[in-house]
Amino acid sequence: MRLLNIKKRGTDLVVIGGKEYGTGSSRDWAAKGTKLLGVKAVFAESFERIHRSNLIGMGILPLQFKDGINRTNLKLDGSELFSIIDLEKGIDPRDEVDVEIKYVSGDIKRIKMLSRIDTKNELEYYKNGGILQYVLRNMI
């Protein structure tokens, strides 16, 4: 089991943003490209509506910081490791999730984040790895 963790270590990728992440025109390649780079989740203070739904449409998890927490007061510089606790056990729409941040110093911090999978439909899309995969599975 520990070996399995080592295998995965350093490969999952996340993107961290501030407020109004993904504003501007509703360009779907912004979500498609993020998916193809292997990004599994985007953490932001807030999401623009269409881009948030496009991220889920591509099977990427949008998580929103809570309680005034952000990249600055977490003192993130990119050297940290992020784990979403028990994600593999499943979540419901708009659930709160625990995110563990491991700092290079050895410090570990746990924060609460809000899952911005807002509806049951969206949850189905996410579980299918994306909206088109969901539609495809329903067709075959």
């Binding site: 996340v14 998916k35 990119g78 088109l132």
Partner: protein
């Protein structure tokens, strides 16, 4: 054998079911399904009157645009995607005139243009392969709603001001886009419910207005005909134009459009609706362009982002359908989701005039009256504002934003002020142009383009431009030699009526020859300027100007060489091409002298409203629309010549750098994978506030010194053939390398860098984002090998 027959029968049945576009929901909680008879023919429909009686009190006062959404929910209520709560939330909207409820909305059809259409077709093609890999019938994958793809974004103004310009530009377009067009042509024969309007026909929004839209749609389900409001989403932001014809529609992203095509609802909040009252009528000498630029400014000041705007009032009767379409077109510029005009007599008149069949027109009339969709004054809005159209004066917008409204009377002084502020120069400088006897001065108009769906769909302003050209030629005026002039209408009907009126001759004489039917200059496909002119601009950093009848003028949009862009009506575009400079005061400065040596002013050549109306009446008729659209799918000779295999699976060409099989469905497991752990993830970027989708996936130019540049080098593509990220959306290899590659993005992980850089951990090495991703992927490989 029996089993086999059963299977194939099942597949046929299955695909038959999939072919049906409109499968109503099975709930009908408000007992609204009933029948209506039109010319003796009976149709099913979901009645708002019945729904009001059966639990939705008060809904007759809803804005018409919300009634369209409500009908959609009633029709699709299935308790899975659409439930009773969503329907009741629309009734409850009347209490506070806003709502936090999200609804699942299913537009009747989808409109694509070629930039966004290619990735959509590529995804569908890849889905077919995934189905085939599961040993199922790939031809079951089809759009479930009507999809129209209009190829309008690729033509560029390479040649101009010549009688051969159109032919030469079309030839260049087909050469440049051979791979993309051949792929689309394959899609046309491979998919059901998927029509292509070939290149050279027109601009998608104008084709939508003149031909595709029905206002009230009808479809068969289980041998019964249903009628319901025509609605759509499009992958182009100016899809909103068709709201001028009472068809609710707006632009969405490609993923949403694809999901919509495949039967998934669009999820949206019930919007606020701002009522915009139109009063009185426009005065003599003003145009729909002047009106729309005023409306844009008013609504930007009001703040209507994310809201519907709905027009009402006694002034509507003084607005032709074309004028309404111009106003509806610019909804993205005023920030609204759409600007909706309800159905009235003018709507019916336009439908008849543009050659729609009588039964369709009668359906629209009866249905709209029965459903309370007909224009009326007893509507409750979230908020209202009002415009007395008699106060409209000639208006332009610029230099940078559509809402930067400038009155034509102040245009010259305003420009001089802008020029000094930006360049810090008191006076304009004058520069030589090699091998020419003219010089270029700061503020000169280098591009004058009659272009864009916004205006070229409006016969009044185009006839106005033609008459102005005629008057100018008769007075002996000419356009200036440094101005790149072009006429690119959004439909071939424009050519027909200009020819019938004999006005094309005068536009040609002034250099406004036809260059193509498509978006051209308005989306930045203005083509190159003459080498000597462009050298002079670059070498001297000349403050060059464009004047166009388009809808957007953001910096750098029209041409990289043009600093200031002004939006203006087609006749004003011609006037500025004659004046040759933005410093010119069209009210005070003479445009030239007539043969008697007398000064000629703009007012001397400006056509009267009466003259425009008479010319229009004598030159435009329904037969023109019927004739042009009767063979719309045929396309020009070059399109007809493109050979394509008649297969249901696409044979991807290995060496194509424009179209590649997208990897989204490769090795798709039968069952959903559910939730997978995200553990010890590395951040790829840490970004600031207001990161735009253009930061994440830029549409513009591709840098030579970048992972994409390296990819092109490997494939022997020279920088001159890079094209833009926009045109490369059919190739995920390019798009993936371009993600987070905007030259202005700043990653806090790599302080001091700008552009798509990150820091690879634990090595702490700064490198392009894509290169880091490749490194992280290698790591996984190494670790897993060690383990095994």
């Amino acid at each position: 054998m029996v089993q086999l027959c059963y299977v194939s029968a099942f597949i046929r049945l299955h695909s038959y079911i999939l072919l049906l576009n409109m499968k109503p929901g099975d709930k009908n909680s408000f007992n609204s399904l009933t029948k209506i008879s039109v010319n003796g023919k009976s149709y099913n429909f979901y009645s708002l009157k019945e729904a009001e009686k059966n639990g939705l009190e008060g809904i007759s006062k809803l804005p018409k645009s919300l009634k369209v959404l409500l009908e959609n929910l009633l029709r699709f209520e299935d308790d899975i995607t659409v439930n009773k709560n969503q329907i009741e939330a629309i009734k409850d909207w009347l209490k506070s005139k806003s709502s936090n409820t999200e609804i699942a909305y299913r537009p009747a059809r989808v409109l694509l243009q070629d930039y966004t259409g290619i990735p959509a077709v590529a995804d569908l093609a890849a889905m077919r392969e995934a189905v085939k890999e599961k040993n199922k019938d790939p031809s079951t994958i089809n759009p479930l709603s009507s999809v129209d793809l209009v190829i309008d974004h690729s033509v560029q103004v390479d040649k101009f001001a010549n009688k051969n310009s159109l032919k030469e530009n079309v030839d260049i377009e087909f050469n440049r886009n051979a791979e993309r067009y051949s792929f689309l042509k394959w899609g046309q024969q491979a998919f059901n419910n998927f029509r292509i309007v070939p290149p050279g026909t027109g601009i998608c929004h104008q084709v939508n207005l003149e031909y595709l839209s029905k206002v009230v749609w009808n479809e068969k389900y289980k041998d019964e005909e249903y009628i319901f409001p025509d609605t759509l989403v499009g992958t182009d932001s100016h899809t909103t134009m068709v709201n001028g014809l009472s068809v609710l529609g707006w632009g969405v992203g490609g993923i949403e459009a694809e999901a919509g095509m495949l039967g998934q609802p669009i999820s949206m909040l019930i919007p606020e609706v701002i009522g915009f009252e139109m009063k009185s009528k426009m005065p003599e000498g003003t145009t729909a362009t002047d009106l729309v630029l005023t409306v844009v400014k008013m609504l930007r000041d009001k703040g209507v982002v994310g809201k519907f705007v709905e027009f009402y009032g006694e002034g509507l009767k003084n607005l032709t359908l074309a004028d309404r379409a111009t106003i509806a077109n610019m909804a993205p510029e005023y920030g609204a989701t759409c600007g909706f005009f309800p159905i009235d007599d003018e709507t019916l008149k336009y439908l008849k005039f543009s050659g729609r069949d009588d039964q369709n027109v009668e359906i629209v009339k009866k249905y709209a009256q029965e459903q309370g969709l007909w224009a009326s004054l007893d509507v409750e809005f979230t908020d209202t504002l009002s415009l007395d159209m008699s106060t409209i004066v000639p208006t332009i917008s610029g230099p940078k934003r559509p809402q930067d409204k400038v009155l034509l009377t102040n245009a010259s002084s305003n420009f001089k002020k802008v020029f000094s502020e930006i360049t810090k120069k008191e006076e304009p400088n004058i520069y030589d142009v090699e091998k020419e006897d003219f010089k270029i001065t700061d503020g000169d108009v280098l591009i004058a383009a009659i272009t864009s769906c916004t205006n070229t769909s409006n016969p009044s302003v185009l006839i106005g431009a033609g008459l102005l050209a005629k008057n100018a030629i008769e007075k002996g005026l000419m356009t200036k030699p440094w101005v790149k002039t072009s006429l690119a209408p959004g439909s071939q009907v424009v050519t027909d009526y200009l020819e019938k009126a004999g006005l094309n001759i005068y536009l040609d004489k002034l250099g406004f020859n036809l260059v193509g039917y498509g978006c051209t200059t308005c989306i930045g496909n203005s083509g190159p300027l003459a080498d000597n002119i462009s050298d002079s601009i670059k070498n001297n950093n000349i403050y060059a100007v464009s004047v166009l009848s388009g809808n957007r003028n953001f910096e750098g949009r029209i041409s990289p060489l043009i600093k200031a862009n002004y939006l203006a009506s087609p006749p004003l575009v011609v006037a500025y091409a004659i004046a040759g400079t933005m410093r010119f005061d069209l009210y005070k400065d003479p445009l030239g002298k007539d043969k008697d040596g007398k000064d000629v002013f703009l007012k001397d050549i400006w056509p009267s409203n009466k003259e425009i109306e008479e010319t229009l009446r004598n030159s435009l008729n329904a037969e023109m629309f019927i004739k042009r659209y009767s063979n719309v799918s045929q396309g020009p000779e070059q399109w007809q010549k493109i050979k394509t295999e008649e297969t249901n699976i696409y044979n991807w060409e290995d060496n194509s750098t424009y179209v590649k099989k997208p990897p989204f469905f490769d090795n798709l497991p039968d069952k959903p994978e559910g939730f997978k752990e995200i553990k010890d993830a590395r951040p790829l970027l840490i970004l600031g506030d207001s990161i735009t989708t253009d930061h994440i996936s830029p549409a513009g130019s591709i840098q030579k010194d970048s992972p994409t540049g390296e990819y092109f080098m490997k494939h022997q593509i020279l920088p001159k053939d890079y094209n833009s990220y926009g045109a490369r959306r059919g190739n995920h290899e390019v798009m993936m390398r371009g993600t987070f590659a905007n030259i202005r993005i700043r990653n806090e992980m790599a302080p001091g860098t700008e552009g798509g850089f990150t820091k690879l951990y634990p090595e702490e090495k700064v490198m392009p984002v894509y290169d880091a991703v490749v490194e992280y992927k290698k790591k996984r490989y190494r670790f897993s090998c060690n383990w095994w």
